[in-house]
């Protein structure tokens, strides 16, 4: 493990521990009055929340890095390619219209939605399109999926569906259970473990699709694998926590600074950076003043948007220089 990666891991573990213990007051208070309940608080409520925050962040980072490598474009990411929105659509369809309750089945719906969105993107924009085409296609798909999700929620048999929409479209880790965490993180973890093994192929794609094919990595097969694995990982997480944006865009950017620009070697650092970002965002949400609920996706968007603009400006400058 390289030194930057080790440092990132240490930072993540520290933040995760903090995330488990904050707010400290209620836990200490409970420990005094009912130690059994206090430990249940940690294991049944806070642990799944921390695991999901770190895991979802890692998934966003890694799939973002993989999609950027695949599309050879630093602006690709699960949200900009419409994958997260597709996953939310799948999950909402399953939860409110098919009355799916089992978290694992719901994760499958999420994965299906994400996969369809990515396939639509590949059909619309192709694999080696310019940035403008990719962004437009991704935004179009994200808008379409988001609109469809809102419509489904508004028309759903359950009248509360519409009020739940902000959790689906902007993410939440509140009151998630251990079975839910497992339903999201086990498939996502498996998918990411397989994705990591494609890191070298993704690095070679930096030399161009043809070179990568000549070295035994046909671009179409790599694309199908990356798209499929990303869809499973993102879909499973979105089905439990809703869609969270910008982490999949920013984390790979930071990770590539550490990997010397290599898109494939950035997969693992991007996962660590993504996990750190989401845990930080959720720490902020948990510390927000009582009386206001700030969805975690709002925090990541507020922080991520200026960074995104800076990225675009940088790209434009590089193109014109």
């Amino acid at each position: 493990m390289t030194r930057p990666t080790a440092l990132l891991l240490a930072a993540l573990l520290l933040l995760a521990a903090l995330h488990l213990l904050v707010p400290l007051g209620p836990w200490l208070e409970l420990r005094r009055s009912d130690p059994g309940l206090a430990s249940l608080l940690l294991t049944e409520i806070r642990l799944p929340r921390t695991l999901l925050a770190a895991g979802y962040g890692a998934v966003l980072g890694m799939t973002g890095a993989a999609l950027q490598a695949l599309f050879a474009n630093p602006l690709a990411s699960p949200d900009i390619t419409g994958s997260s929105s597709g996953a939310a659509l799948g999950a909402v369809l399953g939860a409110y219209w098919f009355a799916i309750v089992d978290p694992l089945a719901l994760a499958a719906f999420g994965a299906g939605g994400a996969a369809l969105a990515l396939v639509a993107l590949l059909l619309l924009a192709g694999r080696r399109s310019d940035t403008a085409t990719l962004l437009l296609a991704g935004v179009a798909i994200a808008l379409a999926a988001g609109a469809a999700t809102s419509l489904l929620l508004a028309l759903a048999p359950s009248p509360f569906a519409f009020y739940d929409s902000f959790e689906w479209l902007m993410g939440s880790f509140v009151d998630r259970s251990l079975p839910q965490a497992a339903a999201a993180l086990v498939p996502a973890g498996l998918a990411c473990a397989i994705l990591v093994r494609r890191a070298h192929a993704l690095d070679l794609m930096a030399l161009g699709e043809d070179v990568s094919a000549s070295l035994g990595y046909p671009p179409r097969r790599v694309a199908v694998e990356v798209v499929g694995l990303s869809a499973i990982a993102v879909g499973a997480c979105v089905s439990v926590c809703g869609a969270i944006g910008f982490v999949g865009l920013i984390a790979p950017y930071a990770a590539r600074r550490l990997s010397g620009g290599h898109p494939g070697r950035a997969l693992v650092p991007a996962a660590l950076v993504g996990a750190i970002l989401v845990v930080l965002a959720d720490l902020f949400v948990r510390s927000a003043p009582a009386g206001r609920i700030v969805p975690v996706g709002i925090v990541t968007t507020v922080v991520g948007t200026p960074l995104f603009i800076w990225l675009v400006v940088g790209m434009r400058r590089r193109l014109t220089s």
Binding site: G208, E209, L215
Partner: protein, 236 residues
């Protein structure tokens, strides 16, 4: 002598008719032809980038079934495009060509192609010619048995055109490997052992450089003819 490269019936639907190619070890083969004639298609078919039909073997080893770990030892493909999507350092780009890390090899290549001062510069801050040399170094890095180079001399200064040809000759001589190089400037064929002429998706001639330049096939394909002071447009 058994061929280094033995390709049978390689074809790309719509672009390359089934073609057989045999290349002996230690030879430099030039590939010429007008735009759209199938030069790039042949190289891509041999590299395994796109192959509708046919098979090829290098030193008797079937390429299609070679795993990714083995491929860099067998062949290398240098496409005509000099684009790099990511700002990777020159040194690291060369390293991507290697199957196993080998800093010594990278340093030797940096020397050979006079890239020493550019070693740590990211690709997006290199000029086209500098990028071309870095990518050539990447292709040479694993010392493969067969080099497939698509227009490696374009975008190069005259100094580097000559140096590259010298380098390729030296490489095939010392390592006993071979190279098939597509050229745009037909006057360069003199540096090669053999010239293939592509026209409309087929190899229509396979001659020595002198014979090729004087051939009617070349005149017909390019619609030019040799005059007293060089080439001129065909009057026929």
């Amino acid at each position: 002598m058994t061929s280094l490269l033995s390709a049978r019936g390689v074809a790309i639907d719509g672009r390359l008719h089934p073609t057989d190619v045999d290349v002996a070890a230690g030879s430099l083969v030039a590939l010429i032809g007008p735009n759209g004639s199938g030069k790039t298609s042949l190289l891509r078919a041999l590299a395994g980038v796109e192959l509708s039909r046919g098979s090829l073997a290098i030193d008797g080893e079937d390429v299609a079934s070679a795993p990714p770990a083995r491929r860099p030892h067998l062949l290398t493909f240098l496409p005509a495009s000099r684009d790099l999507a990511w700002p990777i350092r020159a040194r690291d780009i060369i390293a991507l060509g290697l199957a196993k890390a080998d800093p010594g090899r990278i340093d030797r290549l940096l020397d050979l192609l006079e890239l020493g001062s550019l070693a740590d510069r990211p690709a997006d801050r290199l000029s086209t010619g500098e990028r071309a040399r870095v990518l050539l170094a990447r292709a040479l890095a694993p010392s493969p048995r067969l080099l497939l180079l698509d227009e490696p001399l374009s975008n190069l200064d005259p100094y580097w055109v000559l140096k590259t040809l010298e380098l390729l000759r030296e490489t095939v001589r010392t390592l006993g490997c071979s190279a098939i190089v597509s050229l745009h400037d037909i006057d360069r064929v003199g540096s090669f052992d053999r010239v293939l002429l592509a026209a409309q998706g087929s190899m229509v001639a396979d001659l020595s450089p002198e014979s090729m330049l004087a051939s009617t096939e070349l005149a017909r394909s390019f619609r030019i003819e040799r005059g007293e002071s060089g080439w001129r447009v065909s009057r026929a």
